[in-house]
């Protein structure tokens, strides 16, 4: 009986292992490997994870990689939101011939991998982390930062709230690098516009699920705006609980500094209605974004792409164009050569339209200030946003000279 059981287990194990994305034997085409390094099981798996993989595959299909003679393998790995796990995975992937590493939510992991990409000279497109340090002090020749960053979030959402009269702020901050950076940059925006910060609580990340104490403190501070410098499930929880404590009913405005479409979906419109937020991509913007989303949904039927996931699509499309332009041999040799080529060409794809990449590795696209619709205004599934304002690319991101990127010659 024992032997049988083991045999069964053994077979099951073998089946699991062979199902893993192991590098397969090369077919006759031009070989390339793309690694999606993401959070597949934790806080950020809905805004990265499988939908990011689906977007990468869709990009390859739409660009026609196979028809152009490329044999592209897509592999995936879970960084578990740990910088050491992510860096180790990146090292192992690059050593085994991965040509592009993409996605990577979580700023701490994102920065660790940027170092490895430079060391191994392999292309790295980050579409999912917030920290603007990727194009600041930590920028390098192999790294491109797609989709968004903390500068964009703090200036667009923060700036809009101040302009609308929200002069006094109270922050609830996730107490780690990302939350602190987002709070500090937003504080700068608020102060520059003549506003004040009357209070700030930094809560332990990621152990906190109950925000009621902080919300009551915010309420008793008398501030006009509650700034949430957090992300993912924390944001969803804090907004839900703010709703329960009647924060919005009492006239305080909530500034969710990083909210994805998937978060709005998780909260439901009843609670999320009226929130003001910033994304650089929304599926229901125009015919191209809708067509792209329709195609991706065949691979990710229950989760619509957010700006980070759409960034994977846009990034891979442009990456393939660059590889094709410089030739496979040159591309296999140096990630920096591919990235240099990517910076030379304007980008054009269904998700982001026509944009460009700056010399510090910043993907330059417009950002959109949205307001979440009321339940009655939403007519089709995931129809959640109303466009308030479009910020052109040059104003969306920090001016080139101010970021402290060593690649930028003054």
């Amino acid at each position: 009986m024992n032997v049988n059981r083991r045999a069964v287990l053994g077979t099951a194990l073998a089946a699991t292992v062979s199902g893993l994305p192991v590098r397969r034997a090369r077919a006759a085409g031009k070989p390339l490997t793309i690694g999606v390094c993401s959070d597949f099981s934790g806080t950020y798996s809905d805004v990265g994870g499988e939908t990011s993989v689906a977007c990468v595959r869709q990009a390859l299909e739409d660009w026609g990689a196979a028809a152009k003679g490329y044999d592209v393998t897509v592999i995936k790995g879970d960084h578990q939101n740990k910088a050491d796990v992510g860096a180790g995975l990146a090292r192992q992937w690059f050593d085994s011939g991965v040509d592009l590493l993409i996605d990577v939510p979580n700023s701490a992991v994102a920065l660790a991998i940027a170092g490895v990409a430079r060391e191994k000279d392999k292309a790295y497109i980050n579409t999912n982390a917030a920290t603007s340090a990727l194009t600041g002090p930590n920028c390098n020749e192999d790294t491109i930062h797609w989709s968004y960053d903390t500068y964009m979030l703090s200036h667009s959402t923060g700036g809009a709230m101040v302009a609308a009269g929200g002069k006094s702020w109270f922050f609830i901050t996730a107490n780690y690098a990302f939350g602190q950076l987002l709070r500090d940059q937003t504080t700068a925006v608020v102060k520059a516009a003549g506003g004040t910060v009357v209070g700030d609580v930094a809560y332990p990340f990621p152990q906190t699920t109950d925000f009621s104490s902080f919300l009551v403190q915010a309420q008793s501070s008398g501030a006009q705006v509650l700034g949430l410098a957090n992300a993912g499930k924390d944001t969803v929880n804090s907004i839900k609980q703010a709703h329960q404590f009647g924060i919005t009913q009492s006239g305080m405005k909530i500034a969710g500094l990083l909210i994805y479409l998937n978060d709005v979906h998780g909260m439901g419109l009843e609670i999320a209605q009226g929130l003001v937020l910033t994304e650089s991509f929304y599926w229901n913007m125009n015919d191209r974004t809708r067509a792209f989303t329709k195609r991706v949904l065949t691979k990710s039927p229950t989760n619509y792409p957010s700006m980070a996931q759409a960034g994977c699509y846009s990034g891979v499309t442009h990456f393939m164009k660059a590889v094709d332009a410089i030739g496979l041999d040159a591309a296999n040799k140096s990630g920096a050569a591919i990235v240099a080529q990517m910076k030379k060409m304007p980008t054009d794809d269904d998700a982001y339209g026509q944009c460009s990449i700056r010399e510090d590795g910043r993907f330059m696209c417009p950002s959109y200030l949205f307001q979440v619709k009321k339940p009655g205004q939403s007519s089709i599934p995931w129809d959640y946003y109303e466009l308030l304002h479009t910020t052109p690319a040059e104003q969306t991101f920090a001016p080139l000279a101010t970021e402290g990127c060593p690649l930028v010659k003054s």
Partner: protein, 295 residues
């Protein structure tokens, strides 16, 4: 405005109340853990998962069957209690004779499994569940706005804790349960079906976790990790209260909720460790916990 330790008094009253609200979840969960440990000697690491499943069952009942919050308060614990019964009969009953660590590992494995499966189906963000219309809204207490639902949670939790404590400590059934842990073979000799008693106890403890899950569903987002997040604190509560002491678990649960609430005002980054600091101090001074008997 009156200041206490440099903080406005109304703010501190508010935190006291919030602390009691959070404490009522700690109390309900740690009570179930204490019952299971006291009677079965199983350190049930799947307790958080049962809490989470309870919340999901309430959500499922509403979404797929149209059964609302009030009936779910009864139905969900029964369903999850049934699941607990099955687990106890099929798996957990096999480790009673082994070292206590095996039970810990087994229930830990069950928790990981349940959490993983739910993550596959619902993602980590989970789903939303609204408070019943009767309990939505806010009352102004003067020093703070209290969501009516949270007030209800405190009342419900207090009643549940009191009733459970009375059953275990003051009824014949409770006396049998306690006797069965002291000396199972003697109780069996009196004609009591001890294995069945134990199974039902496990199901009851798990049902309590599920009930807490239903109560928590409108407060937090219903997500696969919601139980695991609470479990660390709840274990600390059980250890501080004294392993297996039901009254101790209830009082400590409420007490630690309040301590956490005040930490949130005076030093927010420390709120996650406050409970463990208390645990360390208690273990140094009273190794058996505040209400536990030295073994």
């Amino acid at each position: 405005m009156t200041l206490i330790f440099g903080k406005p008094a109304p703010l501190l009253f508010g935190q006291l109340l919030l602390g009691i609200i959070n404490g009522s979840f700690y109390a309900m969960l740690s009570m179930g853990l204490a019952i299971i440990f006291g009677l079965l000697r199983i350190i049930n690491f799947a307790h958080g998962a049962m809490f989470m499943i309870g919340a999901f069952v309430a959500w499922g009942l509403l979404t797929y069957v149209g059964i609302g919050f009030w009936p779910a308060l009864l139905v969900a614990p029964v369903i999850v209690g049934g699941l607990g019964l099955l687990l106890e009969r099929v798996l957990i009953s096999r480790v009673y004779r082994l070292d206590i660590l095996y039970g810990l590992l087994l229930t830990f494995g069950i928790a990981q499994l349940l959490q993983g499966v739910m993550t596959v189906y619902f993602g980590v963000s989970g789903v939303g569940y609204d408070a019943p219309a009767l309990l939505s809204g806010v009352v102004n207490l003067g020093f703070m706005y209290l969501p009516i639902y949270r007030g209800f949670v405190v009342l419900a939790a207090s009643v549940i804790c009191l009733v459970t404590w009375l059953i275990i400590e003051r009824t014949r059934l409770g006396a049998l349960l306690r006797a069965a842990t002291e000396n199972p073979s003697l109780v069996q000799a009196f004609g009591v079906n001890v294995p069945r008693l134990i199974s039902l106890t496990f199901a009851f403890g798990v049902g309590l976790a599920a009930l807490a899950g239903v109560l928590a569903a409108p407060l937090y987002s219903v997500n696969p990790g919601m139980g695991a997040e609470l479990l660390d604190t709840v274990f600390a509560v059980v250890v501080i209260g004294g392993m297996g002491s039901i009254g101790g678990a209830i009082l400590t649960g409420f007490g630690l909720g309040v301590i956490e609430g005040f930490t949130d005002v005076f030093y927010p980054p420390g709120s996650a460790v406050a409970v463990f600091v208390v645990m360390a101090i208690v273990l140094l001074l009273r190794p058996a916990g505040l209400f536990g008997k030295a073994v």
